[in-house]
């Protein structure tokens, strides 16, 4: 007798749990060979709302964790990813239709990206902060502080690296994030959420949604609790529309051209200046 397949249900990742979409909807993802691969969840605006609530409540703890601790957690993500490389390679091959070798090198580059950003966590104030000269008996410091809740639209391709390249810098500084997976190639982002769930990352720091970008983008734009957006996965016209709807709460909207750069971290930070009297 042949064994019955145990197929995976692809779910969202919200507040450390793996729920189906509140709407109950799924959509079809096809591979490079046009064959059916999976039915991931199609997130609704209410799933987005729940994600923001989870991200907001996780923010205080994550932003106030020591930079050293955040760096360790990010490095741990790299370690856990390493152990699941094969699954990532398989998914990338099936979706993007690239060779096994290319997929493998993408996974390795992704893991290195986590390591690279984990190193940045405790060095940000060294490159961006300053001790300012003021005319008075005061110490005057400026240090970068995390912004709050940031939404990132993962690039379509490379599917795994494109997600991590946008996500890692955002959370390394203490922001919490909502990752909108690529609509066409969502599986690596979903598997990434399983890695994050087992990497000492506090619940809610990263929330992963899959679904229709066009449906979610306008709700992200107008949500007053989302402070910043990385629009890597959006088209130029979608980006313009998002900026328009996001103007009300002065959302910081960025698109980066360089691959890995501290600018990706610092763009989602604010400068805080503190005055302290000398001699007290």
């Amino acid at each position: 007798m042949s064994r019955i397949d145990v197929n995976k249900t692809y779910k969202l990742f919200i507040g450390g749990a793996f729920p189906r979409s509140e709407s109950g909807r799924v959509y079809e993802v096809k591979g490079a060979n046009k064959k059916f691969i999976a039915n991931p969840a199609m997130a609704s605006r209410k799933d987005l709302r729940e994600s923001v609530v989870a991200a907001k409540s996780a923010f205080h703890g994550w932003a106030n964790a020591t930079a050293f601790n955040r760096g360790q957690v990010l490095y741990r993500i790299a370690e856990i990813m390493q152990g699941r490389s094969e699954q990532f390679v398989e998914e990338i091959c099936a979706l993007e239709g690239v060779s096994n070798k290319a997929a493998k090198s993408q996974v390795e580059e992704t893991i290195d990206t986590w390591v690279w950003y984990s190193g940045w966590c405790d060095k940000l104030s060294a490159i961006s902060g300053s001790l300012n000269q003021v005319s008075g008996p005061f110490y005057n410091f400026t240090t970068p502080e995390p912004l709050g809740v940031v939404a990132v639209f993962a690039e379509n391709k490379p599917s795994l690296l494109g997600a991590v390249r946008t996500l890692a810098p955002v959370i390394s500084s203490g922001n919490t994030a909502i990752l909108i997976a690529s609509e066409k190639y969502p599986l690596p982002a979903i598997t990434l959420s399983e890695v994050l769930a087992t990497s000492d990352l506090p619940s809610g720091v990263v929330n992963v949604l899959t679904g229709k970008i066009s449906e979610l983008a306008s709700w992200i734009a107008s949500h007053m609790e989302i402070d910043g957006v990385d629009v890597a996965g959006l088209s130029k016209s979608e980006e313009e529309e998002l900026k328009l709807h996001g103007a009300d709460n002065l959302k910081r909207v960025f698109r980066f051209t360089n691959r890995n750069h501290p600018e990706r971290i610092l763009s989602f930070m604010e400068q805080k200046t503190v005055w302290h009297p000398i001699g007290i």
Binding site: W219, M224, E225, D248, N249
Partner: protein, 311 residues
């Protein structure tokens, strides 16, 4: 009068009350919680809930400054939107009553009553002399609502005569000057039968309101408990023609929770009770969530906690 006032008669009356069908109460409350309230009904419910909030601060760390800030919020919950109604009342500890009353009068909140928690809140473990003085103090300071706790130890050990007498004494002190709310601390009464008994006991002793909890004990205002109390006030009204108010307090934190309470009220006691004079919600963080949901309905996009005051 339903009872002649003797402890024996009171006991007989309470023992003759039909027991609460626990499974039935849980199921009924859970079923009513699934009602979907949207758009214009939701807008109406949010404004009704705001006007029913007893905005509360009961911390050891309360300062005059914090109480004043709360008063400002009570009068005008959202300073950017004048269409938001004022809350039902301010609820504070005894020594903050004067500060709250003076501040409210000063900033245009003359109509907002100040409720004082009384009779050795939250435990109720003090002599009747202390409890009387506690109540009198609050009234002298300008409280127009008294939230008293019952002696749960006496109730649970069967000394219901003592509980009854204490409520009566406090009610006499309140007289016409103040409304009396009686707090059961349902989390400590354990069974729904006890909640029903305590409800009738308080109503017979002269309570104007019956209130679930102090907010210091978990579980607090669960839906089935509120359901049992609403049934009690409904039946008491049928029996005597007197309308008694209900105040759930503790654990109602979101707009959804509040709207569920309103559904319970409407379906159990009836629409007459959808009125701040007969139904109040004891809460502090709930108000911010109500305001954020109100913003969402008005603007069409999700609101941020950065746009409501922290208290």
């Amino acid at each position: 009068m339903i009872i002649d006032g003797s402890e024996g008669d009171l006991k007989r009356f309470l023992d003759d009350l039909p027991p609460v069908d626990q499974v039935g109460a849980d199921a009924r409350a859970a079923m009513l919680a699934t009602r979907s309230i949207k758009t214009t009904s939701k807008a109406w419910a949010i404004d009704m809930a705001i006007s029913m909030v007893d905005l509360t601060t009961l911390e050891g760390a309360d300062t005059p400054g914090k109480v004043k800030a709360l008063c400002a919020k009570a009068v005008r919950p959202d300073p950017t939107d004048l269409t938001v109604p004022s809350v039902g009342a301010i609820c504070v500890y005894n020594d903050m009553v004067k500060i709250a009353r003076e501040e409210l009068d000063l900033i245009g909140g003359r109509k907002i009553p100040v409720a004082a928690v009384s009779t050795a809140f939250p435990s109720g473990r003090a002599s009747i002399e202390v409890k009387k003085q506690d109540t009198q103090d609050a009234l002298n300071a300008g409280a127009s609502e008294i939230d008293m706790v019952i002696d749960r130890g006496a109730f649970l050990s069967g000394k219901i005569g003592k509980v009854f007498e204490e409520i009566k004494i406090v009610k006499d002190i309140c007289g016409e000057k103040a409304h009396l709310k009686v707090i059961f601390e349902t989390g400590e009464l354990v069974t729904y039968d006890n909640v029903r008994k305590a409800s009738y006991l308080a109503m017979l002793a002269g309570a104007d309101f019956i209130k679930t909890s102090t907010g210091k004990v978990n579980p607090a205002a669960t839906a089935p408990v509120v359901l049992v109390m609403l049934e009690a006030v409904r039946d008491y009204f049928a029996l005597t023609g007197i309308k008694i108010g209900v105040k759930p307090a503790g654990g109602i934190k979101t707009t959804k929770d509040a709207i569920k309470q309103l559904v319970l009220v409407n379906e159990t006691a009836g629409s007459d009770w959808l009125n701040p004079s007969l139904f109040r919600i004891g809460a502090s963080s709930l108000l911010n969530d109500l305001l954020m949901q109100r913003m969402k309905l008005r603007t069409g996009h999700y609101a941020s906690a950065n746009y409501v005051t922290i208290d």
